[in-house]
């Protein structure tokens, strides 16, 4: 699969919530070849601290060579990234990893929690492009509160998906876990795609596998390179061996993963 290193110009910077940002970058080579579920490694600054690049899912691409990433500030790297202003450049490597398999059969369910929403939007758009009737497909979105969710509800709905939501504080949709929305619809689903906190994906996987519904999960881990070179991104697989998230993933079949941590 093709990989590029591009100095992408930052075109647009949206503040989605207090600590959530969406960047639009002009990265024609990466966006031209990206597949949903793949990620990019972004250099935080020109200096040596923080030293390593940070991985982010590709949130969206367009035909004009633009790419979006959606992220939450959780530490020094993301804090600095949130401070980059339009007009500046960000050094990007990508598209990296193996993304989601595009299912042909009817009835899919996309389950996103928090920043796990990021790759699912790209997936939703690409699925739509395969010509399927996405009205029958479900998108279940979970977040802390309405502010973090409403914009995505609109965006997925605009694509035509049936969207349901859950919030921790009950300010939008179901008051509780997004995975609780899965129970009534799971039996009719052909496949579940999920990205979000490990605990959330585990519940998704357990539920899906229990009723023999295929489930793809997108894992997070610490990465030094994203290129398959450092072997730092190992997670434990179902067979007790190690999976390398950056090359074998980040998307895995839920059955490949060891769900105990």
């Amino acid at each position: 699969m093709p990989e590029f290193q591009e100095k992408a110009s930052l075109l647009h910077r949206e503040v989605i919530a207090a600590d959530i940002f969406r960047l639009t970058l002009h990265a024609p080579e990466i966006s031209g070849t990206a597949h949903p579920g793949q990620f990019v490694m972004l250099q935080i600054n020109d200096g040596r601290d923080p030293l390593l690049r940070r991985p982010f899912s590709i949130h969206q691409v367009n035909a004009g060579g633009n790419m979006q990433i959606l992220f939450k500030v959780v530490g020094r790297g993301t804090a600095q990234l949130a401070g980059v202003l339009p007009g500046h450049h960000i050094d990007c490597i990508g598209p990296l990893g193996r993304g989601f398999a595009l299912e042909q059969r009817d009835r899919l369910c996309l389950v996103g929690g928090g920043m796990g929403i990021a790759p699912l939007y790209f997936l939703a758009r690409r699925l739509l492009q395969t010509g399927r009737m996405v009205e029958k497909d479900f998108v279940l979105l979970g977040a802390r509160n309405r502010a973090e969710l409403s914009i995505f509800v609109d965006e997925f709905s605009e694509l035509g998906y049936t969207v349901q939501t859950a919030t921790d504080d009950g300010s939008m949709g179901h008051h509780g876990f997004v995975t609780e929305l899965l129970d009534p619809i799971l039996p009719v689903m052909k496949r579940v795609y999920t990205c979000g906190p490990f605990a959330m994906m585990k519940i998704c996987a357990d539920k899906a596998l229990a009723v023999d519904v295929a489930c793809q999960v997108s894992l997070e881990t610490h990465m030094a390179c994203g290129l398959g070179a450092c072997l730092g991104c190992a997670v434990t697989g179902a067979d007790g061996g190690y999976l390398h998230v950056c090359r074998q993933g980040p998307v895995f079949d839920a059955r490949e993963v060891a769900w105990t941590r």
Binding site: E3, L51, A234, Y242
Partner: protein
Amino acid sequence: MDTLNDKNIDLRVRLGTLSLRNPVMTASGTFGYAGEFSQLVNLHRLGAVVVKGISLKPRPGNPPPRVVETACGMLNAIGLENVGLQGFLERKMEFLRGINSRVIVNILGDSVLEYGELAQQLTGVDGIDALEVNISCPNVKKGGVAFGTDPSMAAEVTRAVKERTDLPVIVKLSPNVTDITVMARAVEEAGADAVSLINTLIGMAIDTTSRRPRLANVIGGLSGPAIKPVALRMVWQTARAVSIPVIGIGGIATTEDALEFLIAGATAIQVGTANFYQPRSSESIIDGLTAYLQNRGESSIRSIIGTLQTEGD
């Protein structure tokens, strides 16, 4: 680009019988088996590629988390995960034979015997130009003390490898010792054709919320710009202590960094952690060395090596 390819600039260096087109190599464990970088780096321009350390049998490595970032550096506890000798020969060598750079195989073992066995089996394989012996591994027979912290054990490994191969043998030294020149002299006497240094410093990081180590292995190897001053000092000391060539490693990311090591006495250098955050580091160092020589009106990189001027000299 024309000037950078100036035919009047000579970057060639020799490590014993091994000649390199330029002194820039990629460090073991930081460049995979080269293929990982094929779309981002021109693999045909490098002085040499040193592949991830190979053991007789494949190794699964340590449980995660395996890496953590530190101030201007990183800790790793990969646990020497690798495809094993057979896997390497069957699945990696073909690609490596296709690149127009020297290929050096880094080897590691649990015992002196294993090192010897690896050396023998890698000798005569088409496309392998030299061996680099990683002695920063625990000697299982000696209660897990690292080969690299005991001069006699390090010498023994060196002899075992030299006896079983006619490839040039580079011994890679650990910095976690009181006096690295003692180690360097020990392996020189045992027949090493060159030494490379430094491997990682041993470090640690703790998550204060969970009160657990950030690495599942508790301790790991510190690398990156943070360690450069220590590496440079050890390279300088070692270059004065031995007469075999010294390869400088540790935090090298820029042309400046590479020049510091060459001036301190290194005949060649390896780029490690920098490959992770700036895959093109080694290429840009090659360009930078050429430009440095041009700007100074010098023609050969060899005229730079070991030229540090100190008052005492």
